[in-house]
Each structure stands twice: as structure tokens, then as C-alpha cells.
């Protein structure tokens, strides 16, 4: 069943989360293929964002399993999951507003050796400074790719909403994760910038990073994904290539509705 070639980037089995009497995620199961872009769509309240919080460790599931690189993630705290190579974004951009754009990108790479108290202060030798210089060079390259080079000394909090989204992409590029989960990256983003994000997602795939993207913007989902999972009422109701979902009556009833008939 689990031949190396078919090991998914992420495997979710029977994930469940209740808030009081509300079952936000109800036995949700899906796989995200390795090296591909998987879309996660569904109406508001379908449990998409809660599912992401459960996968990334920001909330604890009541039951169910999450397998990433063959390792069970459920119960691990967010920073451990991040260090394993799974990085997520949030619905609203979460830049570090008081730090500059360049600092935002440099600090996206967690460094065990230098962030400890002793590692960072006592052994601040030549090798460390060289590593800092390498990181600055890499961060400048990434910012240049995203058209943020001219803004690198600006405090990230002063940027526009779209620019903050790009900073988040730049941070993820710096962190070099194996899987990224994007929570509504197109929220409040104009079409030109949307195209830039589509290219950024393709660049992730080209460098071996798998992507899961939660989005309400269906043309964007159609543009970037190879595989789509549809959630409603906390569970997966359909999956497959986006094209196949148009003809699925359950999906049309639950979510697509008007958008498809147009």
C-alpha cells in the first residue's frame, strides 16, 4: 500500500474536532499527493481552517491521525511540526510588522544552533557571521524574485495587504519547507498579484515542495491545482481534478452552485 513512489505528502485519517456541541471537523480523511498542488475548497464553516489548525498543531484534534513523511503529527506542538518541514500561513497576513521586510525573510529560517541562548551569544564566532552573510544573500535573492527588493528596509507593517502576502511567500521560500499549506492566499489580492502568487506556487512545486491551498477563488484553484478536495460540514464530500467536480451533483449543491451555472 505504501510504496515509496506513491507516499503522499500528507495523509489525514478520521480527523475530528468538536467545539462544545459543534462538530467543526467530522471524520475528515484525505491525501495530498507528493509534489503537486492540492486545493481544499468548500463553503464557509466547512471546517477547512480548523482542519489546517489541527494538521499544523495550532489546535489539538479530538481524534484522527495526520501523517507527514510517515510521521504522526497529531499532538505535536506547532514549532515541532514547522521544524519537520510543514509550514502554514493564516487567513490574514501575519508578518512581523515592526521588523523590516528583509528581517522578516531572514528570520523565517529557524536555526537551532544560533537561537539558543548560549549558541547565539557565547559562541558568536566567525563561522556564525559567515552563515548570517549567506542568509542575507539568499534573502536578497528571494526578495528580488518577488519584486520586494526595493522595499527590503521598509517595516513590514507599512506594506499594503498584497505586499504582505508576497512577504509571506518570500518567508516560506526562505524556510525551504517540504509542504506548505496556504490559507486563502487570494483574500483581498488583485488579479495581477494573483498571477504572481500562482507563479510562486508553481515555483514551490518546481523546487520539490508540495502545496495545499485553501481558497474560495475558483478560477485560481482551477489555475494552480492538479487535485481538489471538497469539504462540507466537516467532512470530505468529493475529490478529484477540478474539472471532474463540475459534474458532481453533491459538490454543485454544497458549494459550486451558481458559480458553475454561469
Amino acid at each position: 500500500m505504501s510504496a515509496p513512489a506513491t507516499t503522499p505528502a500528507l495523509e489525514v485519517r478520521g480527523l475530528t474536532k468538536r467545539f462544545g456541541g459543534v462538530v467543526a471537523v467530522d471524520g475528515c480523511s484525505f491525501e495530498a499527493p507528493l509534489g503537486q498542488v492540492t486545493g481544499l475548497i468548500g463553503p464557509n464553516g466547512a471546517g477547512k481552517s480548523t482542519a489546517i489548525d489541527l494538521i499544523s498543531g495550532f489546535k489539538l484534534p479530538d481524534s484522527g491521525t495526520v501523517l507527514f513523511k510517515g510521521r504522526a503529527l497529531e499532538g505535536l506542538p506547532p514549532h515541532v511540526i514547522s521544524r519537520l518541514g510543514l509550514i502554514r500561513t493564516f487567513q490574514t497576513p501575519r508578518e512581523w510588522p515592526g521588523l523590516t521586510v528583509l528581517e522578516n525573510v531572514v528570520m523565517a529560517r529557524w536555526d537551532a544552533g544560533r537561537e539558543g541562548f548560549f549558541g547565539g551569544l557565547v559562541r558568536m564566532g566567525h563561522a556564525q557571521r559567515a552563515r548570517t552573510e549567506d542568509e542575507l544573500v539568499r534573502a536578497r535573492e528571494i526578495l528580488s524574485e518577488f519584486g520586494l527588493g526595493a522595499l527590503r528596509n521598509e517595516r513590514a507593517g507599512n506594506l499594503s495587504g498584497g505586499q504582505k502576502r508576497l512577504v509571506e511567500f518570500a518567508r516560506m521560500r526562505m524556510a525551504q519547507p517540504q509542504l506548505v499549506i496556504l490559507d486563502e492566499p487570494m483574500g483581498g489580492v488583485n488579479p495581477v498579484l494573483g498571477e504572481r502568487m500562482a507563479l510562486a506556487i508553481e515555483a514551490f512545486v518546481a523546487t520539490g515542495t508540495s502545496v495545499i491551498v485553501v481558497e474560495h477563488n475558483l478560477p485560481f484553484i482551477e489555475r494552480v491545482t492538479q487535485h481538489v478536495i471538497v469539504m462540507a460540514q466537516g467532512t470530505v464530500i468529493a475529490e478529484g481534478p477540478f474539472e471532474s467536480l463540475r459534474s458532481n451533483q453533491d459538490v454543485v449543491d454544497a458549494y459550486l452552485g451558481e458559480q458553475v451555472r454561469q
Binding site: R114, M124, L143, R171, A175, R196
Partner: protein
Amino acid sequence: MTQYLVSILSEGAVFGIMALGLNVIWGWSGDFDLAYYGYIAVGAYMTLVLTIGPAQGDAHYILGQHLPYPLAVVIAVVTAMAVGLIVGAIALRHLRGIYFSIVTLGAVYVMYVFAGQYTPLFDGFNGLSGLYDPMGDWFGLDFKSYQYFFLGLSLVMFALVYLFMARVSGSRFGMALRTLREDERAAAAFGRDIYRLKLKGYVLGAGVGGFAGALFAAYLGAFNTSAWAPVEVIVLYAAVLVGGRGNIMGVALGVLIMGVIVQESTRFLPQVPGLYGMQFLDQHPQILLAARGAIIGLVLVLFLRFRPQGLLPERRYVDSQPVIDVAPQTS
């Protein structure tokens, strides 16, 4: 006049160390810690019980050793860090913002009341005294020349703490603390163990506070509960805020300004015409003390309203390498 200057500068250097420690917790980690003065007190008390010898007469206190002052300071700092670790481990676990502040306020009042009421610990409200000119006899100093020695000692210690903090400020550790202040969830999403990192910053701050307390004990020669009402920490907050939260040069400037304001602002009060006149103040000397509090409060409010970043805002790394954008810039 010289004596006055020597004393005020020594005190200023000690307050500067206190403010630099607070800056780690509030300036960099971003936590409004009201327990901070407790660590200063622990540092001061521990230094005294380790240097003044066994209790005499009716006095009661723990340890009662005759250790050399520097060794006592080291133990005092470690003790302050241990207390900081306990308070931080509880308060930082799940609480942030005002909830964290309330728990730390509770913690410092427990320390305060305990030190005041439980006499076997530090002799209750009587407090401890008898630390005369530590290390003075090593150099054969008399009372007068010791003042200059202590001024030099406190200035050198301030300089050392300042240089150390400059290093922390620019280090990866210091930057990681700031990511917590700026957005904790994003910091976790990018691999930071929020709790451990915050706790490390907190214990570091508590240790610096304890060190300042150890110097304060030598400066005062004594310490008791009337020397540390927990609200004293507000003066330190005012200094950090006025100078520039997160900027150590700003913090040093803030201590200088607040020191001058606190010491000098009320000096000319009796001469202000129409302000009740000299006689009234002679009859009610407590007004001077109250006026200091009011002036500190006013300075705080004015800065929060008009210059919340302080006189010297936290400096950011400015990259001067040319970067040519491959992609067009986006608005």
C-alpha cells in the same frame, strides 16, 4: 555638591542596569511584567543575608553568611533567576497581555507580603542592614573614598551589562525574541518554541534585575520592604518607554531623563509663584513625594499619546547592498 553628584550617578548606573533587564522582558519579548521589581528585591535580600553574617539579638533571617561580596552577588543572581523561572513558567505558559500582567502582579505581591510578614526569612518589615562598603577593605578604602570606588564599580558594571545587551540585541536570540513580540503565531509557524524562548528571555531579565538588586544592596547598605513597593517598577517602565522600548541606547537615555525628572522636577516646586507658597509645602512635605508620582504619570501619558516609540525608537538593520528586483514591484 560633588558628593551629591557621586551618589546620584551611582544610583543612576544601578537603575540603568535595572532598566536594561526590564527591556529584555518588555522591550524585546513584549511582556508587561509587573513582577520585575521582585527580582531586584530577591537580588538585594540574598546579597545581604550572604554577606552580613549571623543574625544578632531579635533579628531573624536565613543563611547569615560572611561570604565575599562578589560570590554573594553570583548566588543572588542565580536565586533571582530561579524565582524568575518559577514565576515565568507559570505566567508565560498560556497567558498573554493583561492576563500575564495580572498574574505577575499577583506574584510580586505574594513575594512582597511574604518578605514583610514571614520574619524568619528576611526579618520581615525590619529588613536587613549592615552591609558596609563591600570590598572596601580589600583596597584599604575609607568611607569617603569608597563612594568614588562604588561609583566606578557601578559605572563599569553598567557598561558591561550594556555591552552584553548590545550583543543580545543584535544576536539571532534577540531577533527571535522580537518575532514573539511582533507576532507569536507566525513565530511558531516558523519553528519557534514560544514558551521556551519567552521563558529564556524572562529568566535573563530576572537575572539582570537580581544583579542590579545586588548592587543596590551595596549602595543602600540595607534593604527592607519600604525600599521596594512593587509599584516602583512603573518608574522603570517610564524610563524604558521615554527612551525607546527595545533600543538599549534609548533605555540608557530614558534612565537619565527619568532620573533627572524624578530627582529635580519637584526641587523648584516651592518657588513656582501661586503654588500655595513655601509655607504650605513645609506643613505638608508628603506633597512633594506625591507630586513626583503625578509628574511620572503625566510624562507616561504624554509619551504614550505623542511618541509611543520613545525618543530613540528601536533601530532596524538597514541593508545597503544593492538589490535589483527581477519581478516588477507591487503596490
